[in-house]
Subunit: 312 residues, 2 copies
Amino acid sequence: MDVFICLDIGGTNIRAALYPHNKLKPIKHIRIPTQGNGQSVEGRILALIEEIWPKKETVKAIGLAAPGYIDAKTGMVISAVNIPGWVMMPLRKIIKRRFQVPVFVGNDARLAALGEWQYGAARGHHDVVYLTISTGVGGGVIINDRLLMGSRGLATELGHITLQPDGEMCTCGQKGHLESYSSGKAIENYVIEQLRNGKNSTLSNMEVFSTKDIAKAAKEGDAVSKSAFERAGDYLGIALANYLHIFNPSCIVLGGGVIQTGDLILQPMRESLKKHMLGKVYEINLTITTAELGDDAGLLGALAFIKIKKKK
Amino acid sequence: MDVFICLDIGGTNIRAALYPHNKLKPIKHIRIPTQGNGQSVEGRILALIEEIWPKKETVKAIGLAAPGYIDAKTGMVISAVNIPGWVMMPLRKIIKRRFQVPVFVGNDARLAALGEWQYGAARGHHDVVYLTISTGVGGGVIINDRLLMGSRGLATELGHITLQPDGEMCTCGQKGHLESYSSGKAIENYVIEQLRNGKNSTLSNMEVFSTKDIAKAAKEGDAVSKSAFERAGDYLGIALANYLHIFNPSCIVLGGGVIQTGDLILQPMRESLKKHMLGKVYEINLTITTAELGDDAGLLGALAFIKIKKKK
């Protein structure tokens, strides 16, 4: 039987899955920490592929969802903030040399968009905007049944558009980006700032708190926590209005941990989107929905990427 | 000989040109005012096509560049601010019924982008962002050798993205859009506001002034006029950085009357773009250039649109 090996490389874990050529359920699945054993990350990836390599089946291709800027033509990771040392890392070349099968490398958020379109929440649509709101904000766009890559594969950095010149500092070093208002990190930073300014909150007596803690506090009525999600949702709505005007999609898919807090962020988002939309014409036949693939979005995106690339 | 009829419908004039199937120089060209004779605009368009219709040659198709929201699938003008009364105007249907040849209708800025890519400043590129900065701000995008249309043909309203929530009022009724900072109208409004606030300017003694007058005053050293273009260029640079991160094009084409003021707006734009770019990686192989087709962008865009549509 023909099979595909897919990897999802994150800052914390690397996951590998072995997919039969005709199914979405993997035959085998392995998860390892991204760092460890004094090995390089690329060394750990090679060992992981070795480990998941099947004894009987024929591997037809390897697909990788990787973080950071990836030159789609060469499969080179130009840089990846979450993986120290990955600068101009020729990931495709290294893997191809070792395993002698076709290798495809894509940005994780872009591939997740592809996965949601092929197998998830955006099935059947032709024009899709996908945003993932977790620690950071990433995205991918499908236009007329194709993944938007840009001239070098660097398109759809949807978390890094300026919505507020000279606004909050973003992790990328710029100011006022969507990510600096609507990401999990931004929500945490906002609460920290409010506490520093002496605002009352049930979180005041916690030394460290996560976006989940803030969501819990908000649901229990904590005003500071609620306002953190309201601000995040407000800017997310502004960004979505921009993306409607730019892409005129028929489907917007929202994924990532922060979206799982539900109406805490979705309700202010909906109000803001409505307020900022250019006209009702953009709402006709528009579906706004949450992602379906969860943690498997990257792996299934890599699988979809292999299948599209192999057709060409 | 086979010929094509192309129209560019503006708020002030309608232009029609008769193109041989294999050349970019029209055999015949007519310009009429958009309004007049107590006729409806669509009535004037039908009469104009009648007038330019050739005696000997065979008309293979009619292409129209029209303002406003156009449903690309049906050729319906959903609404057009510059042409009063055009709401749900079935432009393609009306023309097709009368002349019995294929009719293609597209938004003027989108078609101008297509024209610049096929025949003008962006020839040979595969991924292009085109912005036209005149009274308003419009745009079009080429992705992987295709015009970005969106699910209903309403994509790339590039002048209408929020760059400053609760910022300056835009002509569309929203606030803080690119158009409300960088358009000719925005530049004029800014100067009017400054004069109202008592600022000194050589324009103070003029009752009415245009963007051209402001450009002239700026070149002669008027501080208020200079700052108007600096502000316009600053926001234009922010928007271009956003579009680099969103589309990763290899070519940006800037057209429209305001761009013809040259470094007055281009210099602050360049500085702002540099400041707001996510990384130098977006600059590699990037060409930023001015439009080449001038007033013919709409007509040649309609011609390119016909040729692409007929190939399908």
